[in-house]
Amino acid sequence: MSESWPVVEVLSGGASDVPPEVQRRLYEDMILLRTFDERAINLQRQGRIGTFPPSLGQEASEIGSAHALRRSDWVVPSYRDHGALMVHGLPLSNVVLFAMGRTPSLSSALKALPTSIPIATHLPHAVGLAVAAQKLGTDDLAMAYFGDGGTSEGDFHEALNFAGVYKAPVIFFCQNNGWAISVPRARQTASETLAQKAVAYGIAGRRVDGNDVLAVYQVVGEAAARARRGEGPTLIESLTYRLGPHTTADDPSRYRPADEYQDWKESRDPIQRMGGYLMAHGLLTAEDNQAIRQAAQDRIQAEVEAAEALAPVEPGGMFQYVFRQPPGDFATQQRRIEEAVSRG
């Protein structure tokens, strides 16, 4: 079966026809994301933020996919997709605030839904956003982010089925990172590939080397073009690997074979691969590399400072937005909490 589902790779081939400035940008954003994740893990260890789900190892999938979209497209993320949201325009300070248990908002003026915490329940939302774009006569699309574990959920089935029936302009971007917390991919499904599940829904399926940022960029770009032409949805299986823990509360040494981890870390790291490619094609020097990393650290420092500079939250913040017009009871419930706090 896997022979029918070839894995698209670009870095192993010759020169890419992606413009050099885009290639550079993809590389810079991958470094920004990794630097951010490393910093966030430190912040968590210091008790300055709460539990955090790093995307270490998945930078090519996150960055390559999101760069293939337009800002007018919808991003429908899961909890590990701050990289894609960052590319789509989300300030990193919002990600810090999110991890501080503060604003769960990841949207702002962005065309993105807030990160979905339950698994795969957001996939039908992407279908609905795509159907809305279709009915409103735009050529925008929606892209849902989820993992290999998400394909076991009923909502994965329902969303792909609906999308197929309505030929909705939606991309289902599945990052197969090998693990759903401690459960390996082989315990989620007996299917040989995840991409082949597309066949059952009558939609397109693709497999891509998810640690090859140019390949991800290309495959998502092709799926986006199909969607905009009215040719319907695509399921993309992006083969990658979670180098970090599921979250800062997880210890992967309990379940993950050390040799498997070492193999992915040493020979398939998405940033090293792209860096080597750019250097080989004369698009990057060692000095550039140093400057890119320094710029990432400076930017992240500023974003962390911005997040930490905000005043503490007030009780009213949890009442304020539940309804446009809060029901009468809210005032009483809020006042009682505020009175207790002020007596505190």
Partner: protein, 326 residues
Amino acid sequence: MAERNMIGAINGTLDQLLAEDARVMVFGEDVGKNGGVFRATEHLQERHGDDRVFDTPLAESGILGMAIGMAVGGLKPIAEIQFMGFLYPGLDQLMSHAGRMAARTQGQVNVPLVVRVPFGGGIRAPEQHADSIEAVLVHTPGLKVVVPSTPYDAKGLLTAALDDPDPVVVMEPIRLYRLGRQEVPEERYTVPIGSARVARPGKHLTVITWGNMVAVALDAARALAEQGEADIEVLDLRSLYPLDREAIGESVNKTGRAVVLHEAPMTGGLGGEVVAAIQETAFWSLRAPVERVTGPDVPYPPYAWEDFYLPNRERLVEAVRRTLKD
């Protein structure tokens, strides 16, 4: 002004809402060519096209999840769930997403979604076609829940639900769909969400109820009046969230006695919340303990037992008499 039954009023309202705003979409299982299993959407596909009135695959989470996306994406979806007993897979979408999207995004994304759900018993339906889970919905923060018991309110509440910027579940009492007709204005109007209605004014005791049970309460009140026993006020809540606590307080402060009536199971039912509202708003006016007349704590039974399960006039009259005696 035409006389309509409730299903006719709902059909006419959907027709009107589709005609006035191209963003309105009506969809669900069998709502297209078939016009819905209760005919609430009859002829709407012919009149408004299959782009706006359409069948969905048979999957309730998919329907409501897609509806959330459509609402956020700039449409005004009116989704139908065929029976409340089939809503359970869709509850995930209401609880995990629809009810908390506005809070999670600090008001930057709201979900102007309408969900229509036929509910309740009394028509000898097959098993699992008669559930009432309003307590679950009301206990889900971020949702509004309304229940008409008249054709007039069916139109006004459905129109208000569409105008509301937040998700609203409209529970439609199946047994009242074709029970009785009423004049329903042709022109657009709304019944405000959050306001109860005095279905029958009275002096001696308030029966607080909603949906199918409003008919039972009115029937009991008529019987007690005819026998010269008591003058009963019937308060039809119409909105279960937000709950009209003021109307509850006003009525019970006047009558001094109350019975709460619903067909859902007793324990954890919304009746408990109504009793709490009574003691918060009218405790010092109470002249007798408040009684509840409800379905028992059993799964809604196969219809051979339906008449034993459902609260009826006799059970309500007994409770009223006990409450009046104290």
